[in-house]
């Protein structure tokens, strides 16, 4: 073979051989999707035996369905029974898991200055969000004010060993801002107990990641709140949850106005000062509750509430699409758009 022909042939061969390095099918990566918690749940696993992975996925599916049934905000289930007892002013026996979950929710409500307030189930129902297809119209102001005056709070609950009671019959629990995080935590704990240490559980967009993908960290994209695509990217470190609350998740439109599902317990109306809040924390339940509280707090007060809740890494996107970042978050995140940023310093 002559020199030029040989050179060209070698070049083509080298280029074709290069494709082997990007063959993702050869990687020990598995991704399964479940229909659970009323949403799509992705479970991504790295380097796990197929039989072990299938068994773990099956068990997570069962676990999530049980949690969904027990903590559903408006369908009959355990939470429904607890709410019925609280409405009648009756005490009710709860188990270890329920005790732990409610006490954690009570502590988070306190540290968020009650911006995270799972006791306002009646208010959320009044807005029509105890439905798969909320459609409005928005409730009358008088009805909202009537419920606000009753001031249902998690601090109304008291625990006597495993007996739950409330000194306010207006308390109706809605764990929508907390249960998904708790469920993700439980799924990750199940994986860890099976010796699976490199995984992501993503429940309808909110996730907890453990370990990494081979030699590199898991890479997470945070969706833009106003358009398709990604607004920011980050790599997880060890064991971290990434939760976002946004005003685009559940809403209804009435007479041309949009009403989203995250209700401000102070005004009784949907929070209106921010588009989305993303929180990183090693506990998914805490990240879930904090993302809700910070969205309600809005750009003026979110950093103060984050500090009180022990949240160091958070980002708030305000209505003008300015990204407000904690100092720790600014060091972690790569914004994918040229948008204004404000870095909040600890007070």
């Amino acid at each position: 073979m002559r020199g030029p022909t040989l050179l060209v042939t070698l070049l083509i061969t080298a280029l074709i051989n290069g494709c082997g390095s990007s063959d993702i099918n050869s990687e020990p990566f598995q991704q399964s999707q479940l229909l659970a918690l009323g949403t799509l749940v992705d479970v991504s696993l790295w380097d796990v035996d197929t039989a072990q992975a299938n068994q773990a996925i099956h068990d997570i599916d069962t676990q999530l369905h049980d949690l969904h049934h027990n903590w559903h905000s408006w369908l009959p289930g355990r939470l429904h029974d607890i709410n019925a007892a609280l409405a009648k002013g009756q005490a009710i026996e709860i188990n270890d898991v329920e005790l732990k979950l409610l006490q954690q929710a009570q502590q988070l409500a306190e540290s968020s200055q009650h911006l995270f307030n799972p006791a306002i189930g009646q208010l959320i129902d009044l807005w029509g969000f105890h439905s798969d297809t909320p459609e409005g119209p928005p409730p009358a102001s008088a009805a909202i004010q009537k419920l606000l005056l009753l001031q249902p709070r998690m601090s109304n609950l008291s625990f006597d060993d495993h007996t739950l009671s409330s000194n306010n019959t207006a308390v109706q629990l809605d764990m929508g801002a907390f249960a998904k995080g708790y469920a993700v935590d439980q799924a990750i704990e199940l994986l860890k107990q099976r010796g699976i240490n490199n995984a992501i559980v993503n429940a309808g967009g909110d996730l907890r990641a453990i370990g990494q993908r081979g030699e590199r960290p898991w890479r997470i994209g945070i969706r833009h709140p106003k358009q398709p695509g990604i607004i920011a990217a980050l790599e997880t470190q060890g064991d971290e949850s990434v939760f976002t609350s946004g005003n685009y998740e559940r809403f209804f439109e009435y007479n041309g106005q949009r009403y989203h599902h995250i209700i401000d317990p102070r005004s009784g109306h949907p929070g209106s000062e921010a588009l989305a809040v993303t929180v990183i924390h090693n506990n998914a339940a805490i990240a879930d509750a904090a993302a809700t509280a910070l969205l309600i707090a809005g750009p003026k007060n979110w950093h103060n509430i984050a500090q009180q809740m022990g949240i160091h890494e958070a980002m708030l996107i305000d209505n003008e699409l300015t990204a407000h970042l904690t100092r720790a978050m600014a060091q972690r995140i790569q914004l994918q758009h040229n948008i204004n940023t404000v870095i909040e310093e600890p007070s």
Partner: protein, 125 residues
Amino acid sequence: MIRTKILTSADIIVICAALVLLPWLYSHFWGDGSQGETARIQVADQTPMIIPLQHSQRYTFDGPLGSSIIEVQDGRIRFVESPCRNQLCVHSGWLQNDAEFAACLPNLISITIAGRNPRFDSINF
């Protein structure tokens, strides 16, 4: 005196073919892989379906609320119709870049764009 040709006709043909092939081979095998080439369609808890974005076509997927229509055109993909109330999925518009995502959560159907080397392992929203 014997004259030796540096390039034969066969050499010229091979070199011309290579000049045509090399840019394609480079972009195909060594490109950044971030441009979406396929879309992963997930319907409820069924096995995901991978759709190439090179061929224009309409697909109909049945979820719990009814049928969602998804269109592929010019390397892009979008929800055209879906039976959900808010139509958030339809308003998401065209998706074409790696990791772009749209979902009709009420109808339990999601679209995720994937290049050969996906930039992200998971999307938070």
